[in-house]
């Protein structure tokens, strides 16, 4: 009897293992992915000290919460897009498309890798935050469930957008520049490095269109005391809006990546 064909899930697991091996064994890339946010945190938290006026919250705590959000998006959005564009340019995608592997397995592998790396990054940030920067972990179930859905919606939206961007980028050589330029700008207008109350209101409105504003805001709502919310636009956390905006980006990302994804260069 003919053995049965391997399933998408089996091969998706196999792809996840391949993605993780490739990541961990490539020291530069792994270092960049995991150490870059740590370095940024240490730099910013050392350069800028003190508390945010009227909140009693230390700036370093704000950085910790914001970087948890931005490093998640960096891995899922920037990292995936560059990785996919590079693999297409190298012909790896074309080779995979020529095998009987279900196409879904490739994406399961990418998603699995993003989830594992994001969990590692978040854990490292929280350990540093708690041990060095006075972050206290929330005790309430509500706060952790908020963390859960912000994390999952944020990773999902960023992953779908990263796959979309990977489909749209024409040339892998320019991918890092094309992806990092808007992403760095987003970090500065989404409250990661500079609290949004210091920004012109039109710039804050622009940032509210994009997922990073809501991901980092959601993380701040979990890891910063309620006294901080006066700094946020509108003077409250607005988690309902966060959920809606992220969900809309998930839907948009899904449709774009289905239409834009290409397995070959030609």
């Amino acid at each position: 009897m003919q053995p049965s064909a391997p399933t998408s899930l089996q091969l998706g697991y196999g792809r996840t293992v391949v993605e993780m091996k490739n990541l961990i064994r490539n020291r530069q890339y792994f270092g960049f992915t995991v150490l870059f946010p740590v370095m940024m945190l240490l730099l910013f938290a050392s350069i800028f000290t003190g508390t945010i006026d009227g909140t009693g919250v230390q700036v370093s705590q704000v950085y910790v919460a914001g970087i948890i959000g931005s490093s998640l998006m960096s891995t899922a959005f920037v990292g995936l897009a560059i990785g996919i564009a590079t693999e297409r340019d190298a012909g790896l995608l074309k080779r995979l498309a020529g095998t009987p592997m279900p196409k879904a397995a490739y994406f399961i592998g990418k998603i699995g890798m993003v989830l594992i790396v994001s969990v590692i990054q978040t854990t490292v940030m929280l350990v540093l935050g708690v041990s060095l920067f006075g972050v206290s972990l929330p005790r309430s179930f509500d706060a952790w469930s908020t963390f859960g859905w912000v994390f999952l919606l944020g990773v999902t939206a960023s992953t779908l957008l990263g796959i979309s961007a990977g489909g749209l980028i024409r040339d892998a050589k320019s991918a890092a520049a094309v992806m990092n330029l808007p992403f760095v700008a987003l970090q500065f207008i989404s409250g990661v490095w500079i609290t949004v109350d210091q920004l012109p209101s039109w710039l804050v409105k622009v940032s509210q269109v994009f997922p990073l504003h809501w991901i980092s805001r959601g993380m701040r709502s979990v890891f910063l005391p309620d006294s901080f919310k006066v700094v946020e636009s509108g003077g409250s956390w607005q988690l309902g809006t966060a959920a809606i905006v992220l969900a809309v980006w998930c839907v948009a990302g899904f449709f774009v990546c289905v239409r834009s994804f290409r397995w070959t260069r030609g």
Partner: protein, 280 residues
């Protein structure tokens, strides 16, 4: 249905350029067909239409009983592909790479056997990204055959091989033939086509100009031979369609051994180059 591949009137245009301009080709099950032709002749496009990577503009394509443009993973299971250029996951070892691709098939070949068959046993633990060009090409071949394909496409498989690696590769192809694998390969090496192929197709400007066994392609078997010999006056040569008669006459003339006698049939390369030259 005894044909592995059947192409009828296949056309493919890129803008105003007709890359494939009316190709008819039949490849029997178990046959090895080499496609020769200058760069830009449409070889790769034709092969990629058969592999399902490109859609044709017109014509009929049947590969293993299906239209590759709409083929599913059950069809992909039966087809092995070695592309002209394709990347690997650099940080995986040779063994991990072959095992990973093998895991995509129902009944893959043994990983270490495949690695040995392409001569990479010494490099089985090395990272794919650290291999030389020729070694990566062998890994390409390993990944192409690991799924036990019934039909194997090889697009310029031995580019970057040293002569020994090329001989080794030819041995692998012969063993695949013994297992009944149908093989379509494109190549720039005429001696490779001659060593491997049952039939050779010469493609120029999107059309197949000639197809046949390497020994008789383009009237090679009947073409004039060159008889060369030497005597006290120095070397002589005579182009003739009756070399046997000429040699018999020379033998009578010299009353025995003819000094420095050679009889040369035109090589496949001679025939090929004449064909290409006529098209230009």
């Amino acid at each position: 249905m005894t044909d592995a591949i059947s192409l009828r009137g296949v056309h493919k245009r890129y803008g105003n350029f007709a890359a494939v301009d009316g190709v008819d080709l039949t490849v029997a099950l178990g046959e090895i067909v080499a496609v020769l032709g200058p760069n830009g002749a449409g070889k790769t496009t034709t092969v990629e239409v058969c592999e399902g990577y490109r859609t044709r503009d017109a014509g009929e394509v049947n590969v293993l009983g299906f239209d590759p443009a709409t083929a599913d993973s059950a069809w992909r299971e039966r087809v092995g592909i070695v592309l002209q250029t394709s990347g690997f996951t650099d940080e995986l070892s040779v063994r991990e790479t072959v095992a990973h691709f093998g895991s995509m098939y129902r009944s893959p070949r043994d990983t270490d056997e495949v690695i040995a068959a392409v001569g990479l046993t010494d490099k089985a633990g090395a990272r794919a990204g650290s291999l030389s060009g020729g070694q990566q090409r062998r890994l390409d071949v390993a990944v192409g055959v690991v799924g036990r394909p019934e039909l194997l496409f090889l697009d310029e498989p031995t580019t970057g091989f040293d002569p020994e690696a090329r001989r080794h590769f030819w041995g692998l192809i012969h063993s695949l033939r013994r297992e009944g694998t149908t093989i379509v390969l494109t190549t720039h090496y005429l001696e490779e086509a001659e060593a491997l192929a049952d039939r050779v197709a010469v493609m120029v400007s999107g059309k197949i100009k000639a197809i046949g066994p390497p020994a008789t392609l383009g009237g090679r078997a009947e073409a004039a031979a060159m008889v060369r010999w030497a005597d006290d006056d120095g070397p002589h040569e005579l182009r003739t369609t009756e070399p046997t008669k000429v040699v018999a006459e020379l033998a009578a003339l010299f009353n025995g051994e003819v000094p420095e006698l050679t009889v040369a049939r035109p090589t496949l390369e001679d025939i090929y180059l004449q064909m290409i030259a006529m098209e230009r």
